[in-house]
């Protein structure tokens, strides 16, 4: 425990900063700030073509080991999470980073991810036509195969995934990168929920004033802001210190879930409705927690 801040770095490289900015712009143009609920179950507001035209799916590809760091992927995934757009960017990014077959493939790629308690693995976007599955990342055979038949995964519905009896072999380093990057995307989603909730409590009035002026509401949101800081710090920690990847990712996702719960509470009955859609990111977070947990059990 001998390091102090002089051996610690928390900032992404210029690559990561630029990617976050680019993805932010992509989301602004694609979603025009529309509420998540308006697209979470329908047509994605950004096409896969637009994503790959921007080169975002190959952002993580390494050339002789050179390229974006995990810290940079975190920055990109966090920015991407803000949009809660249902496209397989994170899995494709990681597949192309760790599989030559995936890198050579033009379309979106998915990964079979473990779930705890012996549940059948989860294949995000397994219901989407044209998505192919990587058989091994950094380990096992490096091939792409069609996604097999399975049952639709019912929690994280906007990811249109399946559960199927299929396996992607993962090197430990890849398992860690998946955990941290998924957690970073969840962190972005939580920041989005927090921003939307702040806007809501400034508008919504009860007792003749905005509910955001009640101290009980304020302090919950202050805690959510602290949780958002902590979640970001935890994914940075996980990205910078491989031994801490799973602990960092899990801690971050737990704080994201706390934030989502606060968002629902602060929006009252509306927050509890399917329509308003706060549950879409929350569902992603809970599934992410399961995946990170199972990855830790298998690879820690």
């Amino acid at each position: 425990m001998n390091e102090t801040v002089h051996t610690m770095s928390t900032q992404p490289s210029e690559l990561g900063d630029a990617a976050a900015e680019g993805v932010g712009e992509l989301l602004r143009r694609g979603t025009k700030g529309a509420p998540i609920a308006t697209y979470a179950e329908g047509e994605p507001p950004i096409s896969w073509q637009t994503i790959s035209d921007g080169g975002w799916d190959v952002f993580g590809v390494l050339d002789d080991g050179e390229g974006a760091s995990l810290r940079d992927l975190v920055e990109l995934a966090r920015a991407w999470g803000h949009g809660c757009v249902q496209q397989p960017l994170v899995t494709t990014l990681l597949a192309k980073r760790h599989s030559a077959a995936a890198a050579a493939h033009a379309g979106p790629v998915t990964i079979a991810l473990p779930l705890p308690g012996g549940a059948a693995p989860y294949v995000p976007f397994g219901q989407v036509p044209g998505v192919v599955l990587a058989t091994g990342l950094g380990r096992g055979s490096d091939e792409l195969v069609p996604v097999p038949e399975g049952t639709p995964e019912t929690l994280a519905i906007s990811s249109r995934g399946i559960q199927a009896d299929v396996h992607t072999e993962l090197a430990a380093v890849v398992a860690r990168e998946i955990a941290v990057t998924l957690a970073a995307a969840a962190t972005g989603m939580a920041e989005r929920l927090l921003a939307d909730t702040l806007a809501f409590v400034k508008e919504r009035e009860q007792f003749g004033k905005p509910i955001g002026s009640f101290q009980a509401v304020k302090h919950q949101l202050a805690d959510a802001a602290i949780d958002a800081e902590l979640a970001e710090t935890a994914v940075i920690w996980g990205a910078e210190r491989p031994d801490e990847a799973f602990r960092g990712a899990l801690f971050a996702v737990d704080r994201c879930i706390d934030i989502a719960e606060t968002a629902i509470q602060a929006q009252g009955g509306l927050g509890f409705t399917w329509e308003v859609g706060l549950h879409f990111p929350l569902r992603q977070m809970i599934l992410t927690r399961d995946v990170v947990n199972a990855l830790e059990v298998e690879h820690a």
């Binding site: 002089h6 928390t10 900032q11 490289s13 900063d17 202050a222 940075i236 960092g248």
Partner: protein, 379 residues
């Protein structure tokens, strides 16, 4: 997205750290390191006073204070590194904390040339100790409700009133006092800031014993104590402005660095003593993660937020809530699960830690700041 902040080159910071670590190892008195808990009050006070002078002689006093005022002209990163290393080396906590973290920045920002020349050198040398006279019986969280009066007289003021919770008062040579000078002026514009010598007639101290049994603060009464015009900081009526300028300072980072070391060593003690009890693993792991995140949060602040007042406001409140509540949770856990041999330690730590969410702005006030001034929620 802002461009990434240029970091202090690692090489420099690293060589600073190496130099500081070596100096600390050689300079921390063995007597303190080995028998700190068993020293008489007199010996403990003497070692702490001595430590302030040693810091000066070693060239580590006022790390981020400009050289023209006797400081080392380094940055927040060095302050943080030094405090972490000092904690690890079990260095004493001197008596100049209030002076260096509050008075020096206040004088540098708002003091006259004479005030700087008169007060900063002895403070940097470790010769003079300062205390802070802000809180009063009727002015706690509502600090602007100060009742202590300074009446105008020829050449200065006569100060009368009661300050409370004054840390270091028993050791202090000077107190910086916020007092009413314009009773009829509107709130926030009725106060002035004064530098008051503690060794003069009209000042009485009464010790206040804390829940832990320690006596670290006192009630301070002023009865017609003369303060010269030249010892007023800022204009008459500008005391609130002067005070706010220091309270919003970067001190949050330095305080967190010291706290991190204490919390880390408490969590390590828990890992050593109860780490093998499966029923406790989950809670211990959570505390361990939170302790590490405190350090990374601090590194994030050092990397990004130096010189950005808006971000500093946010990060000061975030850090304060983080470390104080973590420390309280750690000590509560220690109290509940510790083996008999460590009971005294945990009882003391637990009781002392209760103060952490009260001083430097209670955690409720921090949450008010975060929600109103950072998140922009309506008052």
């Amino acid at each position: 997205m802002t461009a990434s902040v240029v970091r202090v080159p690692d090489l420099d910071l690293e060589s600073f750290a190496a130099r500081a670590e070596k100096w600390l190892t050689e300079s921390v008195p063995a007597r303190w390191r080995e028998s700190r808990g068993r020293l008489s009050n007199e010996e403990s006070d003497e070692l702490r006073r001595d430590w302030d002078r040693k810091l000066w002689q070693g060239g580590y006093s006022g790390l981020s204070i400009p050289a023209e005022y006797g400081g080392c002209a380094l940055g927040l990163a060095e302050e943080v590194v030094f405090h972490v290393l000092a904690g690890k080396a079990q260095a004493p906590d001197g008596f100049t904390r209030v002076g260096k973290t509050l008075v020096a920045p206040m004088l540098i920002k708002s003091g006259t040339a004479e005030q700087k020349a008169k007060y900063l050198p002895p403070l940097m040398r470790g010769d003079e100790v300062w205390c802070q006279g802000f809180s009063e019986p009727e002015a706690g969280s509502d600090l602007a409700n100060i009742q202590t009066r300074a009446r105008r007289v020829e050449g200065g003021y006569l100060l009368s009133g009661r300050k409370t919770w004054t840390s270091f008062a028993q050791h202090a040579d000077w107190c910086f006092v916020l007092a009413q000078t314009q009773p009829d002026a509107p709130r926030y514009r009725n106060l002035s800031m004064f530098l008051v010598g503690m060794h003069q007639p009209g000042i009485t101290l009464s010790d206040i014993k804390q829940i832990s049994g320690a006596v670290h603060f006192a009630e301070t009464r002023f009865e017609d104590v003369f303060v010269a015009d030249s010892d007023r900081v800022g204009e008459d009526g500008e005391g609130w402005k002067v005070a706010m300028r220091v309270l919003g300072d970067e001190r949050g980072g330095v305080e967190t660095a010291s706290r991190y070391v204490e919390i880390r060593s408490d969590v390590d003690l828990l890992i050593r003593t109860v780490g093998d009890r499966p029923a406790l693993t989950a809670r211990l792991r959570e505390l361990d993660v939170r302790a590490e995140l405190l350090r990374w949060q601090l590194a994030k602040v050092v990397d990004r937020e130096v010189g950005d007042p808006e971000r500093l406001l946010r990060s000061a409140s975030v850090l304060k809530v983080m470390w104080s509540e973590l420390w309280q949770d750690v000590t509560r856990f220690g109290l509940e699960v510790s083996p008999a041999a460590d009971r005294d330690h945990w009882q003391y730590q637990y009781l002392e830690a209760r103060a952490a969410s009260i001083y430097s702005g209670t955690n409720e006030i921090q949450r008010n700041i975060l929600s109103e001034r950072v998140l922009g929620l309506p008052r």
